[in-house]
Symmetry: C2
Subunit: 313 residues, 2 copies
């Protein structure tokens, strides 16, 4: 693959049969590769991460989205994560040898095609949208339950498709963004009020870290709560700092951290920042990580051999 794009679609389901059917669509397209998927019943949400090139990612995305629209009924859906549709959000992320602008173009093609084929209203967000329409929270305001009413407002007119929600799939949001870190922290309290207080201290819009969104959710099976976060710029706001402030604020309420997990893939830069902070490491960079350096050496070697074989012809 000359260029690599990641897609991280979020589907409103935690039904294992539906999850399997959606993932199965990926196998039908060449040159796309599943990296990761997670789903759980308290968010009632599936997050998939896969990669492909400019052509294959669009084909695979349309197939997966079609399956989600076919199998998910939003009228039956309950979940703690804000959502407006079966295929709730479908971001495209430039990874290698590709610009964010190209990803914006892919998102627009994806949105247009989805709207035409399935009569699903589609909103653009992030870098694919005008600034005043770019915010995910704003697009999701009122969620699926209020969508029938909200979609009629002139400022909430979808970018593609009818200004009427799909009867079972609601609406879809798509766009392009940079790599971000998704990170969930489990607290040893079932008190959602306390968890919400802690989440607010971290959230950008409440005076927290400028690149962090944080929400609180109940995990009823475990009788605990969870802070779900996305850190859009983990370079500026390293994960260890967010974690330590979360710990401080939790301690204030006599709550402690039970465990954490990345939601989706882990960017290596965030691991480097964590190790460098706690172990006071001066000279840590991506280039000094053995497995990354091997990969770069192999790429050079491949180029060397290709050059040699061209010269041989």
């Amino acid at each position: 693959m000359r260029n690599i794009i990641e897609a991280v679609p979020n589907f409103s389901t935690s039904n294992p049969t539906v999850v399997k059917a959606i993932l199965n669509e990926l196998k039908k397209i060449a040159n796309v590769y599943l990296l990761d998927y997670t789903y759980d019943d308290y968010y009632n949400r599936l997050v998939v991460s896969f990669v492909g090139n400019e052509n294959s990612i669009l084909q695979a995305s349309l197939k997966m989205a079609a399956k989600g629209i076919e199998l998910i009924d939003m009228n039956q859906h309950k979940g703690q994560h804000p959502r407006i549709g079966a295929v709730d959000v479908f971001p495209f992320i430039p990874l290698r040898h590709i610009s964010i602008e190209t990803c914006v173009r892919i998102a627009k093609k994806f949105g247009k095609s989805l709207a035409e084929k399935h009569q699903v209203p589609v909103y653009l967000y992030g870098m694919a949208a005008e600034p005043e329409r770019s915010d995910l929270d704003w697009i999701r305001k009122g969620e699926y339950e209020a969508l029938f009413e909200m979609i009629r407002k002139p400022e909430r007119k979808p970018d593609y498709g009818p200004a009427v929600p799909h009867p079972t799939a609601g609406a879809t949001i798509t766009g392009a963004r940079k790599v971000m870190a998704g990170f969930n922290v489990n607290l040893n309290t079932s008190d959602l009020k306390v968890a919400k207080k802690i989440a607010r201290t971290l959230h950008a819009k409440k005076g927290g870290f400028a690149t962090v969104k944080a929400m609180a959710a109940s995990v009823p099976k475990k009788k605990i709560t969870q802070i779900g976060m996305s850190i859009t710029n983990f370079d500026q706001t390293p994960l260890y700092r967010v974690f330590e402030v979360l710990k401080l604020e939790a301690a204030r309420h006599n709550v402690s951290i039970m465990s954490s997990e990345f939601c989706g893939m882990t960017p290596i830069k965030s691991l480097i920042d964590i190790a460098a902070y706690y172990l006071k490491i001066d000279n840590l960079s991506e280039d000094r990580v053995l497995e990354i350096a091997i990969q770069k050496a192999m790429e050079k070697d491949l180029q060397h051999d290709q050059r040699k074989s061209r010269l041989g012809n």
Copy 2:
């Protein structure tokens, strides 16, 4: 490259001209790639890390070693790291699609060839040697200064070459080993006695961690001391645990940790263990690191395309 072997030679020099000349030898051989090198005047030692395949690594290693033998005079050498020769130790490490046994074979070829070409006595160590002759510390006992006497003892007879040190290059140790982590910690004390006490608490032979070797050195320019460690099995003995115990023992002497650094490459597993410990992350593995997952997807993609082009012929 079908297979990848790493070599991590240690040369007894910190002279920038000599360092440059040694590294320059790598450029003369195709299909080898420099990953990293570090040197400093208090150890007076150069540590290089490079990769190649079964053929290229041997050629490049012989060239580098020849340059080290040519330019380094052990009679002028002072340094705090134990050493017996100009090309002090030359380990080969299996990284991909290659066995430790093949690396042992390469080490033996390297040792035999070096001895024949340069009349340098060569010792095998680690997995390339008989157990009773495998320990680096045992081979280096008395260091270069005592080598003329020690080499005459029957049990210290070299594996290759004459039982007489090379007049300027001393002797060389070679062998095969698995990937290990080299880690140095700087202490805010110039008291070498205290640093040695702390190092002893970590060292395997003194009742410390079974897979850790630790030594103390002065860093006169900065008026501090440094604990230099190698952790041969960083899976069993994760780096954060060694670091936290070091911190505890240092605090006992009212000494604190100023900074740390990896010596050589950083294995990603050690970063994962650090992040998982401090942030209590449950589900962190190499496969979930974005850059590693991309690499694996690209390898699959290359295989897919190669299969397709074979079928097309």
